[in-house]
Symmetry: D2
Subunit: 383 residues, 4 copies
C-alpha cells in the first residue's frame, strides 16, 4: 500500500482564509495529511488551531525554525511545508525549510524582493528541492488548455493581451477589509506594494504562463485612491512583450462590485481566447473565420494534458479549490517521484520559484516606472 | 483532541465517478477518513481500489453483508457507510448497515420503490440512525438561501414553479454513455425508470425543499426518444401543488449540448427567484417593484444560516463538491452529536429518507400517469 | 422614379403602443407612407392622431367601413391597410378591406375563432389579396436563419421543442396593466382566451414556422392565477407533433421579472438550437460533437436568405422594430410585384392567414383540452 | 397640421453603411423626409441613389457647393443636411452648409484637426445654427440614464473609468475591410489617425459625457499591428482626469471576434455602473452595499428624462438605430423650435461641435504623446 504523505503548515490559523483553503485543496485527493505546524505567532491560537486540525500537540511548534529542525530529524517528518503567512515573512521561512531539506509550497508573491527570490531559487537548486509558488489560477483545467493551445500555435502570433483583476473589498475609507486588509495595506508587512503584489503578480503570472511571452518593458501608473491608504490600490500598466505585442494590465481593490474578477483576453493573428476566473470552467475561443466556440471543462475537445485534472463531468462545477488542488496534485506527484528516484523536470506542472522571480522582477520594474513619472522600464536581462 | 470519524464505502471503485465524488466531498473538511469498503463486486477490482485509497487490506471486504457485520463488531469500526451502487441494490445494502447499527449516506433515488423507502424509514427510526439521501444540490449555499427566503415569505404566495434538468450525454443511438449509461438504461438495474429516476428525483426534491410546497397531483408524459432505448429518456410533467400553484418539470437525457443543466425558477405573488446549477454561486431575485438583484455566494446579504457553509470569499468559486461536502458537514456533525448525546432533530440540515420517500412517491405517480395515457394522478395521502 | 406606396391604419391612436410600433416599422425603409386612417373609435382622438401623423384631415375617416369604401375609390388610394385594434374587431375589419380590394396587414391573433380565420383565408384567395398576420418574431434575421438551417436538415430529426413566453406585467391584483391590460383581460374583447391568445399564438407560430413540424395533439392546463382575473393568465401545454416529437409550451403574464421573455429551444438528433427574443441577434448552435457555436446577426455564416434582411453590421444592434420592418419589407415587395404583375407565391416571406388559422386551431384545441380536464385533443384534419 | 421637415444628405450612396443608417434613423419617427443630396462623387452613382431614395432628380446635385447654394435659395429648401463622407471632407462641407444658413448633422470625428473644429464652432455660433456631431451611443436611453444618475451624485466621486472599443474587422493582413476599411486605413482620407479617430473618439465622448469629467492629460501608445497598415490599429491610452481619477481607454481593430464591443465601466466612491453597447438595453448598477441591480430600458426606475425616448416596452428590444434616432429627435425638435422662435440652449440633448472639438483635442494629444515616446500630454487650457 502506497503511503499518504504528511505535511506541515506555517500560518493558516483558525481565523484566516488562505490557510484553510490550502488545507482543503490538499485534502481533496487524500494524498497528504497535515501533521505539524506553527499556525500563529500567538502560541495559544496556534495550539487551538492544531487541536481543531486533529494534530498531535507535540508537533505544534513554537517557531518555524524549531519546526524545520525537529521535522527534519523525525523519521516520520513532514514531506513538505506550506507557507501561508504575510509576504514579508516568506523569505526567511522558505529558507529555513529548504535548508532543513524540506520541500516548500509558498503563497505568492514568494518574497518581497527580486533579490530574495533569486537567493531562494539558488538554494532550492542547490538542495534539489521543490519550491512551488501557489499561483492558484494556473491550476485550472481551462487555463492549462489555453496554455497548450497557444503553445501549439492555434492563435498564430500573439498581438494583444488584455488582463485585469479588479476587486472591491477595500473600496471604503473606513473599512480596511479586516485583518487581511490591514496587513496588505501596511507597507511593513507587504513590502512596497499592495494591490500590485496581491493581484498584479497573479495577472503577470497568468499572462506569462498562458501566452509564453516574455515582458520586454512596462509603464506603470500606481494610484493610491481610497483616502487613508498609503500603498497602491489601483494600478494601470502598459506592457510591451519581446515579440512586439502590446498588453494592458489593470488591477484594483477599489472597484465596488468586483468580487475576484480576474479576466484574461488573448488576441492573436489567427484567433482570440477569452477567460474569466469567475466562470472558470468556460473558455471562449474565436477562430479566424469568426466562429465563436464555447468550451467547458470536461469536454472531449479539452486538451488531454489539461483535461486529465478534471474530477467531475462537465456541468458538475469545479472551482477555486480544485485549481489549487491541481497544483498540489502535481507537486505531490513530484515529491513521490523524488522519494522513489523517478523524478524528472518535465513532471513539474505547477508554478515554481522561477515564476515567483519573474513576478518580483515585474513588480520592481513597475515601482521604478511609477516612481519616475510613468516611464518605460525594461525588465533587465540580468534578472 | 477531537477525533476524526471513520467511514466505509460500498461501490465507488476506481472507474466510477460518483464514488470518487463522495470521497472527495468527505475529504474536503478533513473530519472523516475512509477506512473500510467493498468497492466492487469484482474482488480484484475492489482490492485495487482499497490499495489506491490507502486502506488496510483487512478492511476491504468480500461483501457488504460481511462488512456490516465486521465493522459493527470492531471497536474502531466505521461511524457511517456511504452507498454508491446502482439503484436496485440500495435497499438491501441500506438495510444491512442500519440493522448493524451503522449510520448510512445513500445516493438517490434511495430505493426503486416507495414501499422499500417506507421500510427503510421505519427501520432507521426504530434504530435511531441517520439515513441521509445525497441530493447534492440541496447542499448549495445559494439553494439554502433560497429555501430560507421563501420560508420567510419573501416571495409571497408561490404561483408557478418551472424546473428542468436536461442532459445530453445519452442523446446518441450508438453511444450508451459508458458503463453508467448502460445500467441506467437497463430496466433490471434502475427499476422502471431511467431519466425520471436519475434527474426527475433531483428536480422533485429541489422544488419541494426550496418551495416547501407539497405536490397534490402529477400528469406525466414519459418519452422513449433515442432509438434502442427501453426506458424513458425525456419526461414532461405537469404538477399541481396543494396550494393550487402550477408547475412544469422537464427532464431529458437527449438534449444535445446540455451538460448538467438543472434550473429552477420560482414565481410568487411578490417576486421571483431564478437559479441555475451550472452557475450555482449566483441567485437572481426579482422583487415586486421590478428590480432585478443578483446575489453571489459569499455576500453579506446571503442568509447567515446558509452562508455559514461558505468556505471561500465571493468570487473564489465553489462548486458541486462543496455542495456535497455541505451535506456531509451536517451529517457528520449530527453523528458526532449522536455519539456525544447532544443530538436533536433540528440539527439535520440534509435530505433524509423522508425526502427519499417523497421522490419515490413522485416517480410512482408519474409512471401511473404515463401508463394510463397521461392523466392526473394524486400523490395519495397514505404515502 | 419608383413610387413610395401609401397605406392606411385602423386603430393605433396616440396612446397605444402597437400602432406606433407598426408605423415606425413601415417608416424604417421609407417605402410606404401613412396617408389615411381611423385611429380611434373616438372621433376627436382620431383627428388628433391624424394631425400628429401629418395626415390630410380628409383622409381621417369616421369609420373603417367608410375608409375602406373611400380609399378604394380614390385614384391615389392606399395600397394596404394595417389593422391594430383589439382582437374581437379584426375579423370584420379585415373583411371590409379585403372586400374593398385592399391588401391587409393584421395584428395577431388574426381573429377570435378558427371559423372566422377560415373565412378570411377564402376571401383573400378569392380576391387575390395579401393578408399578412404580423407575428413579429418571424421577421428576425436569426429566426429566418434557424428556419433555413432546420429545413436543410442540420438538426437531423427534431425530437423536442421547448418554447416559452412569460411576461410579468399583469402579475398584480390591483394593476390591470393600463388600457391594454384591461381589454386583454376582458372576455368580451379578446374572445375566450387572454394569455394564450396574446402569447401562446406567438409561441405556436414561432415553433411551427421554424421547425416545420405540424402539431398532432395538445394537452393544455390553463390557469387563472392572479386574483380578480377571469381569463387564463398562465398556460402549460404539452404538445405532440406529427413526427412523434414532444413539446412543452409555457406562457404566463404573472411571471414577475419577465419582460418579454420569448425563448425557443429546438433539440434534434444531430444538434440543438437555442434562441432568446431578448437577445434576438444571437443564436446558439450546438453540434453533434458537442461544440457550442455562437452566431450573431451580421456574420457571414448566417444563411444569405436570412442575412439579406440585415440593415447594420454585426454588433450594431437591431431589435424588435427591425423584425417587424422585415415582415413589411417582404409584404411591400409583394404588393409592388402585384402592381407590376410580377408576383409569385414564393416571394412571400411573412406569416399570412394560413398561419393565422393554425394559431386559432391551436387555441381552440387548447381550450377544449382545458375544459375537459386537461386531456389530449387532436388538431383535426379538417382544420 | 404641423409640417414634416425636409433634409439633404452628402455622401451615403447605395453601397455604404452609414448613410443608410442615418436615413433610417431619421425615417423612424417620420418627422423629416429626405429631399435632396449629393450621394456620391460619381454622378451616375449619385443619381442611382437619388432614384432609389425616391428623390426629385432636380435636387440630386453635382456638388455639395451647388447643393448648399441652391437649397438655401429654394423656398422649400432643406431644413438640415446630414454629412456622411470620409473624415477629411467634413470640414469644407460643414462650412459650406453653415455659410448657406443650413443646420448640419455631421458624422464623427467632425474634422481632422482641432483647429478646423474650432473654426466650425465659431462659424455655427456666429450663424446661430445647430451643428450636431453624431456620436450615436449618446442616444441610448440607458446612456442618458447613466449620465443623469452620475450628475445626481449617485456614484459619489468618480475614481476610475475603464472604457474600451475593440473591433475585429480589420484584423487580417490581406483583407482591408472593403471600401470603408480602405479609406479608414489611408492617411490621406482619415487624417493622421485610423482606429483612434474612428473608435477612440467614441470612447472619449462617451466617457466624457456620461461622467462629466474633463481629461487633464493622456499617455498614449498607438500600435500599428496588422502587417501592411500605416496608421494605428490598436491604441492603449492612460487618462488622468481633472478630479484626479484614472482611466484606461483601449481601442482596436485587430481584436478577432469583437464585433462592435464598446464597453464602459465607471467606478465611484459609492458605486459602480457597467454598460455594454452590444447589450445596450441593460445597465448594471452596483451599490455601495454590494447589491448588484440590473436595469432594463423601459423600466419605471429609468430616469424619466432618459426614459422618454423609449419607443417600445421593456423586453421589446431597441438598438443602434433607435439611439441614432434619439439624437435626431432632439435635433429636429430644436430645429422646429428655431423655426418657431421658441428655441433655448437647454433643449439640446445631443452631442454638438463642442463635443466634436473635445474629441479632436483628445486625438491630437494622443498623437503627440505617442510621437514623443508615450509621455504624458496635457489637454491644454487654450483648447
Amino acid at each position: 500500500m502506497s503511503e499518504v504523505l504528511s505535511y506541515g503548515m506555517v500560518g493558516g490559523g483558525l481565523d484566516g482564509f488562505i490557510g484553510a483553503a490550502h488545507r482543503r485543496a490538499v485534502n481533496l485527493d487524500g494524498e497528504a495529511r497535515l501533521t505539524a505546524g506553527v499556525f500563529s505567532g500567538n502560541q495559544e491560537k496556534s495550539k487551538a488551531a492544531a487541536e481543531a486540525f486533529h494534530i498531535d500537540p507535540k508537533r505544534c511548534y513554537e517557531s518555524y525554525q524549531e519546526m524545520a529542525k525537529a521535522e527534519a530529524q523525525r523519521e516520520d517528518g513532514i514531506d513538505f511545508v506550506v507557507i501561508v503567512t504575510p509576504n514579508y515573512l516568506h523569505y526567511e521561512m522558505c529558507r529555513a525549510f529548504l535548508e532543513a531539506g524540506i520541500h516548500v509550497a509558498c503563497d505568492k508573491p514568494v518574497t518581497i524582493s527580486f533579490e530574495q527570490a533569486d537567493k531562494l531559487q539558488k538554494l532550492a537548486e542547490e538542495k534539489q528541492l521543490l519550491l512551488m509558488v501557489t499561483y492558484t489560477y494556473m491550476g485550472h483545467v481551462t487555463i492549462k488548455h489555453i496554455q497548450k493551445k497557444i503553445r501549439k500555435g492555434e492563435l498564430g502570433e500573439i498581438r494583444m493581451v488584455m488582463a485585469e483583476y479588479p476587486q472591491g473589498w477595500l473600496a471604503f475609507e473606513d473599512d480596511f477589509g479586516g485583518k487581511q486588509g490591514a496587513w496588505r495595506c501596511d507597507p511593513k508587512k507587504t513590502g512596497r506594494v499592495n494591490c500590485l503584489g496581491d493581484l498584479g503578480t497573479h495577472v503577470e503570472n497568468l499572462a506569462a504562463m498562458t501566452t509564453g511571452l516574455k515582458i520586454k518593458r512596462v509603464l506603470a501608473k500606481m494610484d493610491v485612491i481610497v483616502p487613508g491608504r498609503v500603498l497602491d490600490d489601483n494600478d494601470s500598466i502598459l506592457v510591451e512583450y519581446d515579440n512586439g505585442a502590446s498588453g494592458i494590465y489593470w488591477t484594483s481593490q477599489a472597484a465596488i462590485g468586483s468580487d475576484n474578477a480576474l479576466k484574461l483576453r488573448i488576441y492573436g493573428s489567427r484567433g482570440t481566447i477569452l477567460w474569466d476566473q469567475e466562470e472558470s470552467e468556460k473558455i471562449t475561443e474565436i477562430h479566424a473565420d469568426g466562429s465563436i466556440v464555447k468550451l467547458h471543462r470536461g469536454y472531449s475537445s479539452i486538451d488531454p494534458e489539461a483535461g486529465k485534472y478534471a474530477r467531475l463531468p462537465a456541468g458538475h462545477t469545479e472551482g477555486w479549490l480544485e485549481a489549487m488542488a491541481n497544483l498540489y496534485q502535481s507537486f505531490i506527484c513530484c515529491i513521490r517521484a523524488k522519494k522513489e528516484g523517478s523524478f524528472s523536470e518535465d513532471m513539474i506542472d505547477f508554478p515554481d520559484i522561477s515564476h515567483g522571480k519573474e513576478g518580483l522582477a515585474f513588480v520592481e520594474a513597475c515601482l521604478k516606472s511609477n516612481e519616475n513619472g510613468n516611464v518605460w522600464v525594461d525588465l533587465q536581462e540580468e534578472k
